[in-house]
């Protein structure tokens, strides 16, 4: 019985969706690699407007980073609940993960607004362009993750998820952890290492 859907024996023993997600995340590394390189090249180039050290609010961003990292923990709990087929807990932890992610994105929106008021626009300087591009791309990734989490909650409620439930939860989990790990790198390089 050979089928092309997931759940059947594969040559590597890893399911198709999982292998596909890993390949995608490998590709994403290069995307963020390019963006981070651009930022590192340009972060000190300020011809007008504020310098990084003048506007970064390290305690604030540390707190929002912590919130994002905690969302990885709740994601793990959701995956674990999915393996135990505990539908109530899957829903709970997916929702909490999405809320924590939304808090992080909210923090980013607040931060962008504050920076803009302090004079750092998208086209103010090379620092501004590359900072907003890099952190903006990350923010979009988190937002896409939140949309996937909430959609999953909705789909699970109508129990219409095609394929195995646990695997779908795990897939979104992989993506979510990746986005968190990227943030650790961005936070270190952008905020913590002085120019």
């Amino acid at each position: 019985m050979t089928d092309t859907t997931h759940g059947h024996a594969s040559s590597t023993g890893i399911s198709n969706v999982k292998l596909g997600m890993w390949a995608f995340l490998g590709s994403e590394c290069l995307l963020f690699g390019g963006l981070i390189s651009t930022y590192m090249l340009y972060r000190g180039r300020v011809t007008g407007g504020p310098r990084p050290s003048q506007i970064f609010d390290i305690p604030f961003t540390s707190v929002s980073s912590f919130i994002l990292l905690m969302s990885s923990l709740t994601m793990v709990l959701a995956v674990s609940a999915a393996h135990k087929e505990d539908d109530r807990k899957i829903n709970l932890w997916l929702t909490v993960t999405a809320l924590l992610g939304a808090t992080f994105v909210g923090g980013q929106v607040y931060e962008f607004t504050a920076f803009y008021k302090e004079g750092l626009g998208f086209s103010t300087s090379l620092f501004g362009s590359s900072f907003y591009t890099l952190t903006g791309f990350h923010g979009v990734h988190v937002t896409v993750g939140i949309i996937m989490l909430m959609s999953l909650v909705g789909i699970l409620k109508r129990s219409k998820v095609p394929g195995k439930k646990a695997e779908v939860v795990e897939m979104i989990g992989l993506y979510w952890h990746f986005v968190d790990i990227v943030w650790i790198i961005i936070f270190t390089l952008v905020y913590l290492i002085p120019v």
Binding site: T4, A23, L30, G33, T38, F122
Partner: protein
Amino acid sequence: MAIIERPVSLEVQPLIVVAPATPSSAMGAIKRPVVTKGWRQWVFTVDHKKIGIMYMVTAMFFFLVGGLEAVAIRLQLALPNGKILNADLYNQMFTMHATTMVFLFVMPMAAGFANYFIPLQIGARDVAFPRINAFGFWALLFGGLFINLSWFLGGAADGGWFMYAPNSGPIFSPSHGVDFWALGLQITGIASLTGAINLIVTILNMRAPGMKLMRMPIFTWMILVVQFLLAFAVPVITVALFLLSFQRNFGATFFDVAAGADPLLWQHLFWIFGHPEVYILILPSFGIISEVLPVFSRKPLFGYPFVVFSGAAIGFVGWGVWAHHMFATGLGPISVAVFSISTMAIAVPTGVKIVNWTLTLWGGKLWFTTAMKFSIGLIVLFTIGGLSGVTHSVAPSDTQQTDTYYVVAHFHYVLFGGAVLGLFSGFYYWWPKMFGKMLNEKLGSWNFWLMIIGMNLTFGPMHILGLQGQPRRMYLWTENRAGEGFFNFGFWNLVSSIGSLVLTVGVLVFLINVFITARNGKVAPLDPWGARSLEWMTSNPPKEHNFDSIPTVRHLDEFFHRKYAEDANGQMQQIATAEEVLKQLEDNADAHIHMPSPSYWPIVLAFGLPIITFGLIYSHLISVVGGVIVLFAAYGWALESSTAPDSDFESNTPGTGLDKVGANHD
């Protein structure tokens, strides 16, 4: 489509009956497509073979478009003071010629071959993600059309295919051409990325029992390497294109030198993508001729593991040579030395392949079919192009050659003499497999010789022109600057232009051949070439489910070993005909084969993308419409299972005499 049922008893003729399907609803309202006739069977298909053919047709269309652009360029340069194109149009012409040939011809043509033949070569019934596969094709088609739309909306991109910033910024390229170019390439990039993920998973995960990695055909191996290159190279140009678009549309300063920007940033990002890209273009053709040469030499490929590992080595080292495109930018002596050496080093695995192919021919019973001729043509012409490439790796010599026609000569020898000849070899070799008819060999011979003569006449003189100092992208030359004697510009430009017309005739002969073959071509026997690999172990053209039963693989060149075995004296003797091998598979046919079902969502989702990008150029409201389409299709997609559930097919339609044979196996 969908489920194929067979009566359990083989007493009855094992007729293949496609069970009638009643679609369940995919989103509560929309039922999935079931029609298997007319245009719908193509537009909503998820069959890798149909998608492969659609890739090839699209690529061939863009090949003709790109070819016409090339002919326009050559006509302009044929005589002094050319009047065919003005400077502006000339810039658009060479930019779009290169963009079309690279992104819309060679890449999709290779993707077409890969789509069609990878599942067949590894003994699978489809790819890992059939709907993503369909999406990839539609995104490529819409992206390609989107880029070319710029011709009609104020002029195409004009910055050369590598679109160096800041030259491609709004000041020097004020038309929307560059916007169309950058956004269109994002769409084709999405197509490449999804295609790469799909094929990586397909090759790694869906091999038939016993098909170890080192038993895979070389074509499959090379495609695997290419997909990894794509997966890691495409995101880098994605970043570059985003930076460029943000600069042009939202006032970012990435390439604004007055704001302190580094003009080399674009070059680095582009070539980190761009150099792996050239291996993305050439390796599929290397794979094709590694299939063709052994078959027509009646010998196994010489040094199979060396060919595999040298292909992988090219894939790795290909990441460490990008700055050799930038020797003239003043990188500093250390960088130049390092990239010089790595560029010389990458010639080694390529040379290994040339040696392996040559030794495959050595002592073989050569059969000079058209496919074989194209393969041998590749070995010879690619070697010439490879050698001129090694002269670029010598930095002082490269500084002399940078931005001259010598570079143009080099990359046309490797891309036309390499990639394109390999693809044509593939057409002739696999045509009977895909369409059940043999391409005409006599016309094939004309096709081959006209293309070989045309290509050498066109690109050969460019070496001389380049070393004489004719700059690349020069739109006009005048008599008094042409020089005198044997090496004057005028003579060689004329030869080159005449060559491009010969080349055009050569391609036309191919199209005529296709047309004649379609009308009254010879019906292909099951195994016309005495082939060696799994894709020939099925009917011509293959059934929708590829194999009646999935073969168990015991050897490299499995099909050959099912036909031949050593006798007591160690001589290879035929033990079975191709028909007998196929019969054996048919006799053990699986009773219940469940194929992925067609879907509306891939084409709908892909259609949303150019609407978004169109809106980014003209009005963000249009983008919102595109975004809604994408979102709607994404949800439809997520809520629909890739393979329709069995319950869709439990039809009691009178006359089929079927009920759920083997449904419990699933």
